[in-house]
Amino acid sequence: MAELGRGLLFLGFAVAVYGVTAGLYGGLSGRREWVTSARRAVYALAALSTGAFVVLEVAFLRSDFSFSVVQSHSSTTTPTFYKAAAAWSSQEGSLLLWLWLLSMWSSLVVFLTRHRMRDVQPYAIAVLLGFATFFGGLLVFAVSPFDTLPVAPAEGAGLNPLLRHPSMMIHPPMLYSGYTLWAVPFAFAVGALVVRRVDAEWIGATRRFALGAWFFLGVGILLGARWSYAELGWGGYWAWDPVENASLLPWLTGTAFLHSIMVQEKRGMLKTWNASLILATGTLAILGTFLVRSGILDSIHAFTGSSLGIPFVILIGAMILLSVLLVVARRDVLRTEHRLDSLLSREAMFLANNLVFVGLAFVVFWGTFFPLISEAITGNKQSLGPPWYDKYVVPLALALVLLSGIGPVIAWRRATPKNARRNFTWPVVAGVVTAVVLVPFGVAGRPAALAMFACAAFAIGTIVQEFVRGVRARRAMTSEAIPLAFITLIRRNRRRYGGYVIHFGMAVLFIGVAASSAFQHTRDVQLRPGQSARIGNGYVVKYERATARIDTSRDDVERIVLGARMQLSKDGKVVGRLSPSRGYYPLSGAEAVSPVGRYFNGEATSEVAMRGGVRRDVWMAITPDITRLSAQVKRQDAAVIGGLRQLVAKDPNIMLDPRVRASLGQLIGSEIRQLTASYAKAAPPATFRLIVSPMVAWIWLGGLLVILGGVICIWPTPDLAHRRATAGYAARVARDLGRA
């Protein structure tokens, strides 16, 4: 199996190297057969990397511990669902996923554009396969997922328990899809600049891929936030962690690009800006991959002990150099076709929106790399925390939401005061009324949140107004019923109205972020069973009793779960019961030293308990005081090891007997049951984090709306040109048959 995977990977690498050469030769010589051959190399790479990926997945699903990567990232007790996902929890597997996704997206784009942009395509193929060569080279020569162990162990180390969350099954593939998809517009931009075809066609050919990259990266970021909120036990959804930031950077510049290309398509403006933006976005996507792998910045998401930093630095350096050289060399053809007619125009708003996005990206970039910058200058590694980010991100986010309301309703070229009055009156009223209504509820004490609510109400007002007017216009033209007019309106203008849905979703999301950040109540308390604590908003929690259970998988202890049964009351009335817990996973390889204690020395994860709602979430996590169990654990360890030594003294080979091993397992199981029973009966005080957070659900709801809007935008429109051509040929056939 491993040899098959290794062979397929090597073949894929060779095919990618050939494809780069064939593409460049075909482009430079103008010989189409070489370009077609390079295109086929892309398809072949997709097939080969699919084969390699399948081999790795099969190894994980079969728990084939002869594969080093399977042994270190999975175990027989890992649930099947997570075994499949464990492949990309490793450095090697995630690099293979990167290569596989890149090859699949590259195949799709070269297939869809096979009759278009023939002069650009050879260079775009060379760039895409250049990336594949880099990642294939890493997999073949540096970190192979198909390395094997001399002797296959009976059990693996298991998947990091923090990754055992449904989001983790799809979060990394989503992020990697986003990263790899940005390579497509990057490659076509390079090709377009090489052949000096910097009109809007390369944008048209790859716009859907840029949208796809934005969409997948956005979904990945959202899933990561949800995972952080539900799994990490600190109660937040965004921590400005370097790896989180790394995924946000290309998303921000990519969002700016998706807005500004509309100005180029419509007015022939911002060509240099657009080319620079997409080149920067492609580079930032690789930078994001580099940050996860290099370990240069501390992050809970990073692969530690990685040796891939230098190759990535070389690649990023080459991408920056190529980008700068191309933009400078092509500045003559990148000149704008029109000037800005007025500051009161949609193109001006797009420009402002781009500056805000790039400003945000700069803030995130500076904050992320500040530890390295400070270390280089002062010798001390200093990090910037959330308050620093808030200082800059909050005003920029406010400007962004405001612009997302202005942009859709302002006219291209020049807006007249009369038009402005007509389009902004009701949305402004919505914003002002929202602010006024919220003041008596104490929101004025948090001016940033109040401003965000007002701006979001304004933005939502403009979008609702746009839909109402669009439906009216449609009905005036076609006399359709309102629901049909609404659907047809979106169907016939997917890009525009899908974009409006995205703006709506972002406004809802920002309302959730503002409310949950400004009005959150958090308490860390230590409680004994029977004790209560007040949180906020009239909520009181009572620690009713301790809970303990043992989760098993394949007749083996997967983890010990210690928790609490909590009674939740509001204004003196019981409103529900919640059960936060903490799962303790065994430390692998410590069976002989600490057969019972190892269950408390491995990884531990919080199982958050939450009562969620549209208005607020009540969130709680528990950290049981397991140090109080240590004396009992030591006694049990000593008893088990002592008994074991006596048995081995009598017969050194006794442990080879499966019945004895089974009996030992039962003994340890019984000791653990005693331990959990005594914890549940007389639990020591536990530490609780209790949070009442308003409107967090709006973040997920807004995110879902953004996803819906993204799907509307990406959904393929009927190929009208092809339909017309087909209809034309059908008519010709009919004519010819008539003549006969």
Binding site: M1, E3, L4, G7, L8, L11, V15, Y18, G19, A22, S29, G30, R31, R32, E33, W34, V35, T36, S37, R39, R40, A41, Y43, A44, A47, L48, F111, R114, H115, R116, M117, R118, D119, V195, R197, D199, A200, E201, G204, E265, K266, A411, W412, R413, R414, T416, K418, N419, R422, N423, E466, R469, G470, A473, M477, R496, A721, H722, A725, Y729
Partner: protein, 114 residues
């Protein structure tokens, strides 16, 4: 050594090699008139962009973002640009060139493409 694995890798190598090399075998296609194709594609893209702008300007007018005189002025200008583009497309002989190759597929077939 796993003989089956080696056999599968060899089979994959042969299949990939055949697929990649087949466009290079047989008759060599003549080099495309790349400049012609590029010009044609540029004009087609510009034409589609003008059509899209005409439709969007009408929508902007109907949803109140443009006054009637502004819309008419923009519409006139865009239509004039579209007419000019159609003239240039006709002058380029796009119709005749495309007649033998619907959607431009003939060129690819000649190059051994899909």
């Amino acid at each position: 050594m796993d003989v089956v694995a080696v056999g599968l890798v060899l089979a994959a190598a042969v299949a990939a090699g055949y697929a990649i090399a087949s466009p290079l075998r047989g008759r060599h296609a003549e080099a495309d008139d790349a400049a012609y194709v590029a010009q044609l594609e540029d004009l087609e893209a510009a034409k589609e962009a003008r059509y899209r702008e005409i439709r969007e300007a009408e929508m902007d007018f109907r949803t109140g973002k443009l006054s009637e005189p502004d819309w008419k002025a923009i519409d006139r200008q865009l239509r004039a640009e579209a007419v000019e583009l159609l003239r240039r497309l006709d002058a380029l002989g796009a119709g005749e060139r495309a007649a033998d190759a619907p959607d431009g597929r003939a060129d690819d077939r000649a190059a051994g493409g899909e």
